[in-house]
Symmetry: C2
Subunit: 322 residues, 2 copies
């Protein structure tokens, strides 16, 4: 089965890692959010791309889910001694990635080309694509005014009250080369358990991606999302807090309604809730989306693989039914 996964950072990377363990490499393409990308100290930093790539390369920090295994923090320590801003923690090994990416982008390569080159160096065989080679800048509208994503997420640690989001320059952006083609070829599109507002929506804001996901396909194709909200909370990150602040009861149902049913102008033909949210299955199905409960909290590598396995089974059943 040819699969495209739409992913943000840690949660997305875990499911992608599971999918990579059960699919042939050529059957998995990952389209990664770049709305969080930013320039810091003159370096171009792509947090979600790095998290996905580090995870698939087996060099991610298993404790945090982001950053590198065996990381050291001497550059940050030296910077902090100079009074420099150390709110965005740049590990020494991680810095090597940002240095080389910045150099290659400066030499005229696109982010897609740089990412492909990095993946080759790290022996990552799946196609990892940025959502766009054009800048799309996630802005958080909050009670403290409009913040860049990293200001909100890292510097202010998600404390400001969210009022909305803006994906700056999205209207002028194009999907990265290969994204639309991968979506066209895909039989299953998986929306990972990433933050709907700031990890998945930026991907969907790139003109052409939503259109391709909702277009009638020449072959059976299903779009399936995994809820990042489990029993009203998130494993990591501010998704539940964002739903609340925007006036929605945070729940898997709210996530399903956020994306909407393909039959009602939305995206989804399938949805996966955590087993602890089994009681929501009927409500999501009432919204026009086939739903299955699974263990979605990925605590171990085995959890990732089992969820991916079950998800693919569910995906296949959706294709048959379509």
């Amino acid at each position: 089965m040819r699969v495209v996964a739409l992913a943000g950072g840690v949660g997305g990377a875990k499911l992608v890692d599971g999918l990579a363990k059960v699919l042939a490499p050529e059957d998995l393409t990952v389209v990664v959010n770049t709305g969080d990308d930013f320039d810091h100290f003159g370096l171009h930093i792509c947090p979600d791309l790095d998290t996905v790539c580090y995870t698939l390369a087996g060099i991610a920090n298993p404790a945090t889910g982001w950053g590198r295994a065996g990381e050291t923090w001497n550059a940050m320590e030296s910077l902090a001694a100079l009074g420099g801003p150390d709110w965005f923690r740049l590990g020494d090994r991680d810095l090597g990635t940002h240095l080389e990416r910045t150099r290659l982008l400066g030499a005229g390569l696109t982010l897609t080309q740089v990412t492909q080159h990095f993946c080759r160096s790290w022996s990552v065989q799946q196609a990892i694509l940025p959502m766009s080679d054009d800048p799309v800048l996630t802005r958080v509208c909050s009670d403290e005014g409009e913040l860049t994503f990293q200001e909100y997420f890292v510097r202010r640690q998600c404390r400001p009250r969210v009022e909305g989001f803006r994906f700056e320059q999205a209207d002028r952006s194009r999907p990265a080369p290969g994204v639309v083609e991968a979506l066209q070829r895909a039989q299953l599109i998986v929306i990972c358990p990433s933050n709907p507002w700031v990890s998945i929506d930026p991907i969907l804001s790139v003109p052409g991606i939503w259109e391709e996901l909702t277009r009638d396909s020449l072959h059976p194709r299903a779009v399936l999302a995994v809820s990042p909200i489990i029993h009203g909370v998130t494993v990591k990150g501010p998704a539940a807090k964002m739903f609340s602040e925007l006036g929605f009861e945070p729940s898997a149902l709210a996530v399903a309604e956020h994306y909407g049913s393909i039959r009602k102008g939305g995206l989804l033909s399938g949805f996966i809730v955590d087993v602890s949210d089994q009681d929501l299955v009927n409500q999501v199905e009432a919204a026009g989306i086939e739903t299955q409960p699974m263990i979605t909290w990925m605590k171990t590598i085995q959890d990732r693989q089992r969820l991916a396995d079950q998800l693919l089974g569910f995906g296949k059943s959706l294709l048959v039914r379509d």
Copy 2:
């Protein structure tokens, strides 16, 4: 005695360190070569400024003379795994300096301001000044064509045959704030045992500095150089090789003639040769420059201080005689 030292990297930093140990902090100003500065991976790197500052801060690597003590190399290792250029060795702690310098320059601070801020953070009490806040780019004309200084020095490890030097944009540069004032107030100007061609000449190429050094001073003032060439060779670096390739027998005498006597349109009233070059004293004096032999090879911290002590004694005697 109010002293200004003109310095390049390792050799210069050692003598400056000796001077710092015997002078009151307010009596020592160091004007540092920035002709080697370059941009790498989007970061602004100032090798000589860093070497001088790290040395005075007591955080330099005592084994190499450059870079930081207790350094780690994880960013470089990660970069090399991506096939990135690792010919210029950037340590992790050192990277912290470049990151924060790049950030502050980007925010509009001058190199002088950044350096002052760093010195304050590192508890360096002496005034460390870049020769200029304007870019002056040392170019090495060689049998392989014109090379940037770091290409010649680090990447090609000084292998190309030197045909000359060019200090690009020097004609448009101005001495950094405080440089001319410090030279005017100085009683003794010390040209450190740095490379005359690529560490000291770039400083002298900044319009106004040579003029100030050779101007009649209102108070007794002497310019004194320490030979970086000891018995035909250098402790470190390509100075002797450069003299040879440019058609000069490499020796302390060649260094003295390179700077010239103040009485004959040059700079120097005093010169220090190594004790092993005692036989050259008469020849340098015949060129119109008072000369003393001293142990100039600074192998230990004590060597630095002893040389500085003796040098100041010599400097005082020059003032009395003037």
